[in-house]
């Protein structure tokens, strides 16, 4: 099958890729670019562990064909730290112990980031609503919500 050439920016780095037309964004990220922060769990769009940010919108990378995203910008968990400093969400997740096995964490953080990017001061209800797009099977939502609230407060102050 003929490959498809696309231009994308991944974590700030512009690149051009030759991809299979039926290749998912998750496969491209993990297997071509070796960005393994986005995890594959259900592979059917239900769990959110493969969430990445595509032009400001959180998407399930397992449901997006890489061929669809020509000209777009992708942010993965690997692209959040800037100048050697972790993103406030990453710091808050560590501080609050919002990580148990860690499999859902990159998806949780990126979903939360997309919320904080469009909403400076989200209410707890809004955070719960947004985070409910992602599943944590260690059952640790309380600390995740606390971490997002803490990060939101800090980001507002700076």
């Amino acid at each position: 099958m003929k490959s498809i050439q696309i231009k994308v920016t991944v974590n700030g780095e512009p690149m051009s890729l030759d991809v299979r037309p039926y290749e998912t964004l998750l496969e491209t990220l993990r297997e071509r670019l070796h960005l393994t922060g986005a995890k594959e769990a259900c592979s059917l769009g239900a769990c959110g562990s493969c969430t990445v940010i595509l032009d400001k919108i959180p998407v399930r990378a397992c449901l997006v064909l890489t061929a669809e995203i020509d000209g777009m910008t992708v942010t993965t968990i690997e692209g959040l730290a800037a100048n050697g400093r972790l993103h406030p969400l990453q710091e808050a997740f560590m501080e609050k112990g919002a990580v148990q096995c860690g499999f859902c964490t990159s998806g949780m953080i990126l979903t939360a980031k997309s919320l904080l990017d469009r909403e400076k001061k989200p209410s707890k209800d809004q955070i719960v609503r947004t985070i409910s797009s992602n599943v944590c099977r260690c059952t640790g939502y309380k600390k995740i919500i606390e971490a997002v609230m803490t990060a939101a407060e800090r980001m507002e102050r700076t």
Partner: protein, 315 residues
């Protein structure tokens, strides 16, 4: 889970998309948000040779309010539509159904057209290829009999759009573009009533626009599901009223939503509608909840939504 090989095309016009479909000799699918389609292809419920991405067609992304209609391009995402000021003001039931469709992340990707044209679902159909092969293919896969109801010769899969029942209560119509040209028909006419092939659309036809009569309504939507965060409706009940008349629709059971009309000044209409909805709903054991429970919840949710929306206007 790996996708089977298929080609990809991204046309810029509806006409081009239809031409591509014709060129693929019936082996093509139209791709919008992909939140329903991609899992189906992964599970080998369909194996297209070509996926035609409709997201490059700008005309399908517009929402326009005219004197008579709110015209919604089929590729408008559920999230964008939910946050459109006209929806909250004119159609509270639609706001509710959009807001409870799946989860926020999938609302941002999924489109209204794709939500309306999602195939019917069944606990014994939406499974991996290996699972279905081990069980033996059901009617919906071209097999001999149903895997949900022993010996049955008809399919009982559930049409699980949250938004189509609401659109029916609002008197919505759809604009379709196909090989033979354009046609505008009432939304109800796209349903065959058959769960194994739910839609009357012709091969290659594209749903381009959903049109809702431009008027302020009162309404609401209630859905039964196990997890409030993401699930499809196991029963969904929609109600919209304006000027003392209204419609109630029941979704999530069988191949098409049930639709009932009422006038607020009919005596005893609440009981009549609740009983009709109960009697006509025929759930079977093909979801994670029992058929008996879902059937009882039809009446419960019907009365609850009427109370919520109509309040003291009920008789």
């Amino acid at each position: 889970m790996i996708l089977p090989p298929f080609a990809y095309a991204r046309p810029k016009t509806v006409k081009k998309a239809i031409a591509l479909y014709q060129g693929a000799k019936g082996q093509a699918v139209y791709l919008a948000g992909g939140t329903d389609l991609v899992p189906r292809i992964k599970q080998r419920l369909m194996c297209p040779a070509l996926s035609i991405d409709l997201k490059g067609i700008q005309a399908l992304k517009r929402v326009t309010l005219t004197r008579d209609w709110l015209k919604i391009g089929a590729n408008v995402t559920l999230y964008d539509l939910k946050n459109h000021p006209v929806v909250a003001k004119y159609y509270p039931a639609l706001y509710e159904s959009l807001n409870t469709t799946s989860c926020e992340t999938l609302q941002m990707r999924g489109t209204l057209g794709g939500n309306v044209l999602q195939d019917a679902r069944c606990l014994f159909f939406n499974k991996s290829d290996t699972w279905r092969k081990a069980r033996g293919f059901c009617l919906k896969m071209g097999g001999e009999s149903c895997n949900a109801v022993k010996g049955a010769r008809v399919c009982f899969a559930n049409y699980a759009s949250d938004n189509a029942p609401v659109l029916l209560t609002l008197g919505a119509e759809v604009l379709l573009s196909g090989i033979a040209g354009d046609r505008q028909i009432p939304l109800l006419e796209i349903f065959t009533g058959k769960s194994d092939s739910p839609f009357t659309l012709h091969n290659g036809e594209i749903l381009t626009q959903i049109l809702i009569p431009a008027q302020i309504t009162k309404g609401g939507y209630l859905k039964l599901r196990v997890r409030d965060s993401i699930d499809y409706p196991l029963v969904g009940v929609a109600l919209s009223t304006a000027d003392g008349r209204g419609r109630l629709a029941v979704g999530g059971i069988g191949g098409k939503p049930l639709l009932f009309e009422f006038r607020g000044d009919d005596r005893g209409w609440v009981e009549r509608i609740a009983d009709e909805a109960l009697n006509q709903s025929k759930p079977v054991r093909n979801t994670v909840l029992s058929a008996a429970y879902r059937k009882r919840m039809v009446k419960t949710l019907t009365k609850r939504i009427i109370k919520l929306v109509m309040g003291e206007d009920r008789r």
